[in-house]
């Protein structure tokens, strides 16, 4: 069978034809194509996973392995409707959702207690802060929170899950999830302001 030259720039975008060709070769267990597959997909998946598992960076490699294994096993189902990277990011999203669901199921979340005040977040932000500096500060602040708070905030605001979805997936009530989020926001705000002062 006539094939196009092998992909030489795996970090760049591939045409859908090149993607299908790469997938076919990986499925045939071509070791070189498998290397290109790893080089092509890993960066985008890594960034996604790392930002969702923070501060538990020690878990990232295991989750990455799970994702690549799942992708390899599911490759026969790849139809090319979405790009290969987007398709693998979908698998990564499922894996990180599994992790969030598992951890929040185990977390002790109650409905009791008064609701903390929930003022707008804007006053705590410096509008002139450089975007990269602000992102670093966000990650540092998230790392200071109890794990359940970090997971809840990322799931809700980075992954844009609804409170209802979060409650259903983690086996909690919506009220309990709202309380968890309120406490998480309050603690985030406190840590953020503490770091500023």
């Amino acid at each position: 069978m006539q094939t196009e030259p092998a992909i030489k720039t795996p970090s760049e975008t591939l045409s859908s034809h090149q993607e299908r060709q790469l997938v076919e070769q990986v499925l045939s267990k071509d070791r070189k194509a498998t290397g290109e597959f790893v080089a092509f997909c890993t960066d985008s998946v890594y960034s996604f996973v790392r930002k969702r598992l923070l501060p538990r960076v020690e878990l990232v490699e295991d989750v990455m392995q799970e994702i690549l294994m799942a992708a390899w096993q599911s490759l026969p189902k790849f139809r090319g409707d979405a790009s290969l990277r987007a398709w693998i990011l979908g698998i990564a999203r499922h894996k990180t959702d599994d992790y969030y669901r598992r951890r929040l199921r185990e977390a002790d979340i109650t409905e009791e207690g008064g609701s903390p005040a929930d003022p707008a977040v804007e006053p705590l932000l410096d509008r002139h802060l450089d975007a990269a500096v602000e992102q670093d500060r966000v990650e540092q602040t998230l790392a200071l929170l109890p794990e359940a708070y970090t997971l809840a905030l990322i799931w809700r605001y980075r992954d844009e899950k609804s409170v209802r979805e979060m409650a259903e997936l983690s086996g909690k009530t919506e009220k309990a999830m709202e309380r968890l989020l309120a406490r998480a926001r309050e603690t985030f705000r406190r840590e953020w302001n503490h770091a500023q002062s």
Binding site: R31, W72, D118, P119, V138
Partner: protein, 110 residues
């Protein structure tokens, strides 16, 4: 429940911004590659080096020696990197001092 405006501010603050994305280390890519190849081997032999060449891929100097050796196709299918020091270096160090053309681990260097 916070107001919609407050919710929007939290979404903005915690959004996954594209600019701060960081690439995976070369050693992580190397380990992931090795794991994936081992997983492929569990379901049968890898494609031969001849098949890789036919697919348009280059092979490293060590693989070339195997490819031209008068041995069967089956003997050309093992994962030869298992015995190569380049793999060891690549799995344990970021951007290791390896530079052989067509070494799969070299492409992971940043």
């Amino acid at each position: 429940m916070p107001s919609p405006e407050t919710e929007r501010q939290w979404h903005t603050l915690l959004a996954d911004d594209q600019e701060s994305r960081r690439p995976a280390s070369s050693s992580l890519k190397g380990r992931l590659y090795s794991v994936l190849i081992r997983s492929q081997q569990e379901t049968g032999p890898l494609a031969s080096l001849d098949a890789s060449v036919a697919n348009g891929h280059g092979i490293c100097v060590f693989e070339k020696l195997v490819q031209i050796a008068p041995v069967s196709e089956a003997a050309k299918s093992p994962f030869f990197c298992t015995a190569c020091h380049a793999r060891l270096l690549a799995e344990h160090f970021d951007n290791p001092p390896i530079s052989w053309a067509h070494c799969p681990y070299v492409q992971f260097k940043t």
